[in-house]
Symmetry: C2
Subunit: 141 residues, 2 copies
């Protein structure tokens, strides 16, 4: 059966390290070329969103994360100037290693002062929501 057209499904990964730094890439391509962004990309048909999140993280940064926690779903029709995408964002703690840029990433690095950076797309919102989630978790302990 042919499905009706729906927004393109993407995933983004917020990976913190033990020091509270966030793993960001520099975008190699338009839109937002050169900007910091969360690692992520399109979900393949036949792949879960969690698997896509891990695959894109690995491709763009060489890094892996432990358990993934859902942050939110971001589907505003104007969030990507290329067309309507819907991002499923996950939070994970990065395993040890050094980021290494690959695929669509011109750079991949741990960013300390990420609140001061202008991020691509709605990634500042995703990061703010991830922080809220981390704080809620910390409050439970």
């Amino acid at each position: 059966m042919a499905f009706p057209a729906t927004p393109a499904l993407t995933t983004d990964c917020v990976a913190f390290d033990a020091k509270g730094r966030v793993l960001l890439i520099r975008r190699k391509n338009a839109p937002h070329k050169g900007s910091y962004a969360l690692p992520g990309g399109f979900v393949d048909v036949g792949e879960t969103v969690e698997a896509a999140c891990r695959r894109e993280l690995k491709e763009e940064t060489g890094m892996e994360v432990g358990a993934l926690t859902l942050i939110g779903v971001y589907s505003h029709p104007k969030r990507d100037p290329r067309g309507h995408t819907c991002a499923v964002a996950f939070l994970g703690r990065a395993r040890k290693g050094t980021p290494r840029a690959g695929d669509d990433a011109a750079a991949a690095e741990w960013v300390d002062n990420w609140r001061a950076e202008k991020l691509a797309f709605d990634h500042a919102q995703i990061l703010a929501d991830a922080q809220r989630l981390l704080k809620r978790r910390a409050g439970k302990r």
Copy 2:
């Protein structure tokens, strides 16, 4: 820009009433024709997942809900026998009114003993996750 092919994006709504009943439809069409299912359907291009959730609920049951809370994202490639879909599921409290079947629904009703029913797709899992979310919320009060 043409996006790569991604799983089709859908949304499902878990609406409880004050008595703990769940709003379910009977599916009019294959797959799972005649089975109980959560109201839901495909997200239109240009529409947020939250708006799609409210639209599908209204079309299939005539009902409206208050604030929506994200339950989870369900993207197993085999969850729909027609092809790969990814469902974003929301929880909401139904506003007053009487369900009235429309669109893809052969019936729309408040179901009390929903744990005993065989539900379409992975909707039993979505309902179980919704219940966990409700319990977590209740524990916070």
